[in-house]
Subunit: 221 residues, 2 copies
């Protein structure tokens, strides 16, 4: 797999050594994340809304309801910014100035388009559902015609894409290493606790196979 071509808008200017355009790495960040922040503009005001998403090759699908305010007004594409952020750790330096976070983030600029073709919409909803719980689509009741109509879906092509990645320990001023302050990294991760039944599971129904939540660490509450 090759790399995304940086444009004037996705060329990382601040801390360019953190920039990543490699497709494989971008896809792995998108596949590990499980919700995004979608930005769009209405009357010169930006809005940023969290929502779920799925990826099929070089295309992102997301629930359009998040942007329903915009979709009502426009049936052509709208400029969006799709951002996925994974925070991997707190970077604790000896000086306040050098504190940071370890993170991997992807920013996609482009035009989001409403998906109207029922077959593409079906495939998009499958991708969104299975993105969060692999294989879930195949075990649940799939949407009927009414439900598909009631769900708005947007597509966004992975074309103008950049990622930023910070890893590793703090970088302190040399003179600060002698200070009596602990320096290092606190690793962070999304963690999943034991699933909680809603009390409506018929006897004999198989409990959820939690090994499918590969992206989540096991959590002790």
């Amino acid at each position: 797999m090759e790399a995304y071509q940086p444009t004037e808008r996705t060329q990382v200017r601040r801390l360019p050594k953190r920039a990543v355009y490699d497709k494989q790495q971008v896809h792995s960040i998108l596949d590990e994340g499980f919700f995004c922040h979608l930005g769009f503009v209405a009357d010169d005001q930006p809005y940023v809304i969290p929502t779920g998403y799925g990826r099929v090759d070089d295309r992102i699908y997301l629930h359009g309801s998040a942007a329903s305010r915009m979709l009502r007004a426009l049936d052509r594409g709208i400029p969006v910014c799709f951002t996925v952020t994974l925070v991997d750790g707190l970077v604790l330096a000896r000086s306040a100035f050098h504190h940071s976070m370890n993170y991997r983030s992807v920013v996609v600029l482009g035009q989001a388009h409403p998906v109207s073709d029922p077959r593409e919409k079906f495939a998009a909803l499958r991708a969104i559902t299975n993105h969060i719980v692999p294989g879930r689509w195949e075990e649940v009741r799939q949407p009927d015609e009414r439900e598909i109509k009631a769900t708005s879906v947007l597509s966004l092509d992975l074309d103008e894409v950049s990622a930023k990645v910070r890893t590793g320990p703090p970088v302190d001023e040399e003179r600060d290493y002698s200070l009596p302050v602990w320096g290092g990294v606190v690793p962070l991760r999304n963690a999943a606790a034991e699933p909680i039944s809603d009390g409506r599971n018929p006897e004999g129904v198989k409990p959820l196979d939690t090994t499918r939540f590969v992206r989540f660490a096991r959590q002790v509450l």
Copy 2:
């Protein structure tokens, strides 16, 4: 504490029963989150960038470097959308259609202003640092004049604010409860693993007191 007044722009229209304007609840979401997504507009294109922040009463401070692209062009306020999202669980229904997430999110609309007064800037950086690790500011080397100058900080007043909260089990179609599909919630939380020293801590330096990370669950990797 009272409530934020919904405006035309922050009135939650989609699923209004999830809307929260109560100040105390908004503040508790902002205090539990530890990074935000900041949206701003340049040449009609929205940008959404993750960054750290802190809160002092009804004002948010954030590293302005995230919006440096904008700050270079404008020294007056710029319209931003500041969004903090906590995902509390995956909501697994018996139908694909009713899948959801439990979450708490805050959206703040307004004008972000560069903080230039050195005293306010100092207080803002303290708030940002201590937001992530309570008391960290008091134990590290605080920024000198050069470092303060090199850091750009934005302020954003909590004025036009809304929150959305979903909690509880899936809500399935009555006929779907008899399906042989497990329904319920997978609780999610940010978790912290054991801190990793950068290998430059002098002998005798106190290890990090991890009880300060109240917002993170203990994690088993």
